[in-house]
């Protein structure tokens, strides 16, 4: 089983986000990047499948700050091959362009299965998995939270609202958008990551041209303003708790 996992880094939402001077993009100067959480689940699901059925896991990502550390961490968790797409990714690139770049590279790897996060919080022109599938003319299923393999097909659990699950058969090769791995992404000790830095290698693949066609063009970004923002309770924990007790009583729950 040859499994390819395209991942990307996204802004850490714990940090403050600011808009740059153009008014139409995030200020990248102080932006801290972390792996897209759902891509992390995709890596975990790929490794679980490798452990269950054998095979090889290739993790690939477009170049950005921190990408090497992220790839070495994937290696420490069990990924076999690490690939970095190198090109003009700095100005930010939409998923159509990234999808085309990934497709051009991935098709030569002849994957049986491609797993990636079902979405990233900064997607604006579709999820990378859905686009990549069509560029490679493979079927796509998103919101997947469980995968098993049978001859020539994957049997996947797809999530619908309200907790309903559909069990689907998907012909291989296929692309799956992962919502959650069957178990939480495994923790690896920093010493193991350091070891991976010494033993694993990151292959670099040059992307000549990034074609943005098909994506959305943003003319303005802004922070949402609530029509009615919450009434903020302040003071020390005791004072805040006291105010909450008052609100609970008013609501009739206490």
């Amino acid at each position: 089983m040859n499994i390819v996992v395209p991942v990307k880094l996204v802004p850490d939402l714990v940090e403050e986000l600011t808009i740059d001077a153009s008014g139409a993009a995030l200020d990248t100067m102080w932006l801290r990047l972390i792996i897209n959480e759902l891509d992390d689940h995709a890596i975990e699901q790929a490794i679980l499948l490798k452990e269950r059925y054998g095979g090889q896991v290739t993790v690939l990502a477009p170049d950005s700050e921190g990408v090497d550390d992220m790839l070495f961490t994937a290696s420490a968790r069990g990924a076999d091959q690490l690939v970095k797409l190198v090109g003009n990714f700095e100005g930010g690139v939409n998923n159509h362009a990234l999808g085309r770049a990934l497709a051009a590279y991935v098709k030569d790897l002849k994957p049986d299965l491609i797993l990636t996060g079902v979405q990233a919080h900064n997607d604006l022109d579709g999820s990378i998995g859905a686009l990549l599938a069509e560029y490679l003319q493979m079927p796509y299923v998103g919101y997947v939270s469980g995968v098993n393999l049978e001859t020539d097909k994957a049997v996947v659990r797809k999530e619908y609202p309200g907790g309903l699950i559909a069990e689907l058969e998907v012909a291989l090769p296929a692309v799956l958008g992962i919502q959650a791995a069957e178990q939480p992404p495994r923790y690896v000790a920093i010493s193991k990551v350091r070891q991976a830095m010494k033993t694993a290698t990151i292959e670099e693949h040059e992307v000549a041209e990034l074609d943005l066609l098909g994506g959305a063009v943003v003319s303005r970004m802004f922070q949402p303003e609530a029509a009615e923002k919450a009434t903020m309770l302040s003071g020390d924990p005791d004072a805040v708790a006291e105010q909450l007790i008052g609100i609970f009583k008013e609501l009739g729950v206490l």
Partner: protein, 320 residues
Amino acid sequence: MNQDIFVVVEHLRGALAEISYVMMAAGRDLARTTGGKVYAVLLGQNVQNLADTLAADAVLYLESPSLADFTSDGYCKALSGLIGQHQPRAVLMGHTSVGTDVAGALSVRLGLPLVTSVRHFEGDKFVSQICGGKIMAEGELPAPTALITLVPGGYKPESGQSAQAPLVTPVAVGALEDLRVSVRQYIEPEAGDVDISKEPLLIAVGRGIQNQDNVVLADDLAKALGGVVCASRPVVDQNWLPTTRLVGKSGKAVKPKLYLALGISGAPEHAEAITGSNCIIAVNTDAAAPIFNIAKYGTTTDLFDLVPVLTEKVLQAKGG
């Protein structure tokens, strides 16, 4: 190209999804700018009456046994033919586990631009909600046909409803052969645990709870108040609470008297499922967390400092 708007009706196992009304309201709003008609596009088998309550000018009904269940492959094939032929100004789909499975493939197959996470339109501009609800991105509706996935929050579902059933026009569906995705079975959510959608008092924990051992803090408060603990996605994905307690897009939508959110940022996937709550109180150390935009009361006090004190006071109040 014409100025019409297509709304791809979302339904599952015979029930219309609420996002269909929201999309219809959005479609009507956009059609006021474009000047075209709003068509409900309904795909399925024996569901011709499902669009009767939608405020559409007409229903285009694509019926086929291959469309009896939603599959990305079946919907893509059927829709790409229709969109290619009709060339509407925009096609609205839900930013859901149905719509997002289809939108990307349609964009590539038809060579049409795609904008996702759109919350509302302002004239001929889209406004998308990204970065966990912290950032809005605005731009011109791309041409010739804009494919859109819509998130809830920008339009009231009632605005997409109508008492008068629109005219249903059957549309011939070409052969849907060689579909690569098929439904084997549906699995109902586990029963036995509490039904959080019916609970009047919910104490919800998010990523801010940090680890499984801390969930007991919320548990103690819930016990003191006589409520139930529920959670956002990261907590359930870590197996700190069972999926029956999941509030959000693929979990339950809730409407309690009190929703006390501890360490929850309020990402759109979570927010959309709690807006029916009578009163939301948010505890989050990040003053910029979007949860404060939908909460009635909020505090940036650290939940680890606040919750034990609060539990103690609740017990005192009950005891006295």
